[in-house]
Symmetry: C2
Subunit: 356 residues, 2 copies
């Protein structure tokens, strides 16, 4: 059997081509649907996730480089997202805070079968997760979404949640005046029929049905607000906590809410769950989706989705992207790994040269 | 400051171009020299290695996919080699047992700055390590090299060791008759003035000054030979042990030799050191090189280099390759990560479309 040895490169530009072909809403809907199915059918004996690990540092800039591996046994694949988080990127280099790529390996041979931009998929899949959690835990008549932190992730939170709720008011705040001012223009391309209202954090916490927090608050500088009166059904997607010592929500709020982590092992290290005892932490999102009836009553009480980001989401987004890329013939095939003129001779190419 | 967002791809074919430019011997010499310097100057507070981890399995084929990360603080970089080991590859797919790629990340931003074929570099750097260990521990007048296992790694073991010893006899054996028969032709391109003698494993063990074992012996099927009389100064590079349960050398041989692992933490899990108590394990290669005078006497006694492969070697080979690629203008620059028309708007490209 001859083995295809090329790697399919799907760049950021290729992803744009895919979106121009299928539409942004349709891609988000597909991500929400397939991520939901992956979570509700999650079988840890088929999809084996390793807790992400990596290097984090304060020099040359506060940041980290992490790898998030997952093996899907039934599909003969390992998918590894390598992700950098460097909050000073926008200001210092005019590049996104989160930069990443997703690699797919064939477990029959070890071959790198695809390499995909991870920047746009990470935003999209985080928006999709926010939508899934909001749908599960949010008040079913929710009309107002509060966004605390108006960077790249706020755009996809708004997008994802707008696909599952008929939003009427968007309340938004960013500590950076320019980021706050530019938000409405950035959100405009979603063509939502919503009122956009700039507010203080405290007003957002008081007024919203659903909130997504996605800030770059510094390590040890949280929470974003003190305990405040809220709607009794307020659901918060806590997106920004993804670093040891970084958290966004006050302990008193967490303590009096049902807190659902995406993955407890990871959330207790870098999510909001860092601040909680185990008895204060609810079931994982996958578990709650599997037993949705049991958790139905939570739609009317305070809930938190502690989103740290899991490899299963990247597995789903890479699958969707690669299907579209292959169907639409988008992307470039490159022979990266040394080809096997003679698989037992790393120098076989020299023989070839000498003969010619 | 504008940040270069492209990734330099250096494929197997690009590596061939580099070798055609600089010469294979010169590349091996540079690898030996720079790997030696990296080991002798190794400072774990500058080069932070994570023990490799990964997935290993028996279905769809016996194999593993592992990641080997290293952060070099002084160079603002993280280098991760992802490596697959699938011993049935040659027979089943006509591709090498070891398939891999090396990725380099900039710790200022998290950007993937380079992606390099890892197949050829892995063979080369393993040959270089064999040369360094043989030079340190081998009898200084060594003339005979025994090769047990004549696959891809045997070629670079021979190449590396031939750069530091004036070899006269090459004794070789492979369990597969065809692999054994083709070995001399494969080695021919090294233009060595040596006699090649096919032998049994036992003859090789008796007759050689230096041996490199690089077999695909199965898990739990070792060792390759029983205790035998050997030259009193025999040095063995044990290359093939790189999997839990896989080992090549008999316990009685290890027990009566000085055993130097490349990295003890890893060697006790997947190297020959799996079979040893801690008091039977010597210092690491880096330590022995730093204190070479102390270990001088070992040149005249039995020694084993337990080579599992460490990320520091891949760091060195990626550095050398990228320097040559940039100097010779070899390789392709690809913008893989989503570009930042607006680093706070993952959908900025859609705005652009609407305007055009």
């Amino acid at each position: 059997m001859q083995h295809n040895q090329t790697t399919l490169l799907v760049t950021g530009q290729d992803l744009q081509q895919i979106i121009f072909n299928i539409g942004l809403d349709s891609l988000m809907d597909q991500l929400i649907e397939e991520t939901y199915l992956a979570l509700v059918n999650y079988d840890p004996s088929d999809c084996v996730m390793n807790r992400r690990s990596g290097y984090n540092y304060t020099e040359p800039a506060e940041g980290l480089v992490e790898w998030m591996p997952i093996r899907q046994i039934s599909k003969d694949q390992v998918v590894i997202k390598v992700v950098g988080y460097h909050p000073r990127n926008p200001e210092q280099y005019q590049v996104p805070t989160i930069i990443s790529t997703i690699s797919k390996y064939d477990t029959r041979t070890g071959h790198l079968s695809a390499l995909i931009d991870g920047v746009l998929p990470t935003s999209l899949r985080t928006g999709a997760a926010g939508a899934i959690a909001s749908k599960l835990f949010g008040y079913s008549q929710s009309q107002s979404l509060g966004l605390i932190g108006c960077g790249a992730q706020a755009v996809t939170q708004l997008h994802g949640i707008s696909r599952v709720f008929d939003l009427k008011q968007i309340y938004y705040y960013d500590i950076d005046e320019l980021t706050s001012q530019s938000f409405v223009a950035r959100a405009a391309m979603l063509d939502l029929d919503c009122e956009f209202v700039p507010m203080s954090i405290n007003e957002i916490v008081r007024e919203s049905d659903i909130i997504s927090t996605a800030t770059s608050i510094g390590i040890g500088e949280g929470p974003l607000f003190a305990e405040l009166p809220t709607k009794e059904w307020l659901h918060i997607n806590a997106i920004g906590s993804d670093f040891p010592g970084k958290f966004e929500l006050p302990f008193s709020f967490l303590e009096n809410s049902y807190v659902c982590p995406d993955w407890i092992d990871q959330a207790v290290i870098e999510g909001e769950c860092q601040n909680l005892e185990s008895h204060q932490i609810g079931e994982s999102l996958s578990h709650c989706l599997k037993e949705a009836n049991t958790f139905e009553h939570l739609k009317n009480s305070r809930t938190v989705f502690d989103s740290t980001g899991i490899a299963l989401q990247d597995l789903v987004s890479s699958k969707i992207i690669l299907e579209h890329a292959e169907r639409l013939n988008i992307g470039q095939r490159v022979q990266i790994e040394s080809a096997s003129l003679d698989e037992k001779n790393p120098y076989a190419f020299i023989k070839r040269l000498k003969k010619s």
